[in-house]
């Protein structure tokens, strides 16, 4: 498999791991822990990993996850795509589901790349 061209970037990650291989390549993170963010309604034709259920919802940055190319680029093997910051974003269940029946402090956390997020006001 090491002679297969499309495996090249995996071979580069030997000894480091993925996403560690992209560390330091995304530049400065736009958001910090605690920032309120709104998930954009980007077109998701053919592929995305940002769940439909968080689009348009307001959450809070719970952690900076790592740097990596976005799945929308990586899935098509676009090796020149610039890595970006990924964030663990925390949402109140009640803001995601109109009819949420559990208590107010139930939350959902999911990871979202920076392109999908804008500051919430």
């Amino acid at each position: 498999g090491s002679a297969v061209k499309r495996n090249t970037h995996h071979i580069h990650a030997v000894g480091k791991g993925d996403p560690q291989i992209f560390a330091g390549k995304a530049g400065e993170a736009r958001f910090k822990v605690g920032d309120p963010v709104l998930v954009r309604e980007l077109p998701a034709l053919f592929y995305t990993r940002t769940p439909e259920y968080v689009r348009g919802a307001v959450g809070e940055i719970a952690a900076l996850a790592y740097e990596s190319p976005a799945p929308e680029d990586e899935t098509w093997d676009r090796q020149d795509a610039k890595p970006e910051w990924f964030y663990v974003v925390k949402f109140d269940m009640a803001t995601l589901w109109d009819d949420y029946t559990g208590p107010d402090n139930d939350v959902l956390r999911t990871e979202i790349p920076e392109r999908w997020l804008v500051p919430a006001t």
Binding site: G1, Y53, Y66, R109, E111
Partner: protein, 235 residues
């Protein structure tokens, strides 16, 4: 083939091991043989990955939790540097390729339960699971049913697993939809005073590490859910 005018020796014919080879198996063989023929991977690599997949299981994760329960320094390490702590229980996340498995990545995170928060994991998009330390995912974890419902009705789903949480305990659902893989570190239950690590590890089942069950003294196997009989069964 009804005639017997061919020359093979029936006393030397091995009975087939299965009655029928499924379409899936036919395609698996075709794909594997073509990949090997074209040099995409070798037969040796295929065998190495199969053997890797056969030796993984939930034991290292259970050992990690048990050790964290008895050793506060190790617990701090597990929460701060989960992949370093994984090595202490025999799991190197860079295996078996040197850069991790291609589908589990090397961004492991341990979610700690507290008296106020209970964690439970799901991959709503597919079946992402911390396989290097927890083994293969259960069948129900991969079902559209679990994936669709847990993110929206976590308490109802947990109650079907026999886990009813009081309202004072917040449910935190973690959807693993990118490169992070998650595991739950449950709280040490009552009735385990003076237990050693191996006794403690026995009650940390796979289901506890996903978050659909809590460890309990005396319970060393996964949750068995009893399905209700159909109200209008098809005769």
């Amino acid at each position: 083939m009804s005639g017997h005018d061919h020359d093979h020796d029936h006393t030397r014919t091995v009975a087939p091991m299965v009655d029928e080879i499924t379409d899936f198996e036919v395609l698996e063989i075709a794909l594997r043989e073509l990949c090997i023929e074209k040099g995409i991977f070798t037969a040796e690599e295929h065998r190495r990955f199969t053997e890797f997949a056969e030796q993984i299981g939930p034991t290292p994760a259970a050992n990690l939790v048990a050790r964290a329960w008895v050793d506060p320094d190790f617990k701090a390490l597990a929460l701060r540097e989960p992949m370093t702590a994984s090595k202490e229980v025999g799991v190197d996340w860079l295996e078996p390729t040197g850069f991790g498995t291609p589908s589990d990545f090397t961004a492991f995170s341990i979610l700690e339960d507290t008296p106020d928060v209970h964690n439970v994991i799901v991959c709503a998009l597919c079946s992402c699971y911390p396989r290097p330390i927890l083994g293969n995912s259960p069948e129900w974890y991969r079902t559209p049913n679990y994936r669709r419902r847990l993110v929206r009705w976590p308490r109802q789903v947990l109650s079907e697993f026999g886990l009813v949480l009081p309202e004072g305990v917040a449910v935190r659902v973690q959807d693993s939809n990118q490169k992070h893989r998650f595991m739950v570190m449950p709280m040490r239950p009552e009735g385990t005073d003076g237990w050693d690590e191996s006794q403690l590890a026995e009650i940390v089942t796979r289901d506890c590490l996903i978050g659909v069950a809590l460890p309990k003294a005396g319970v060393t196997t996964n949750v068995i859910t009893y399905t209700r009989p159909a109200i209008h069964p098809i005769p």
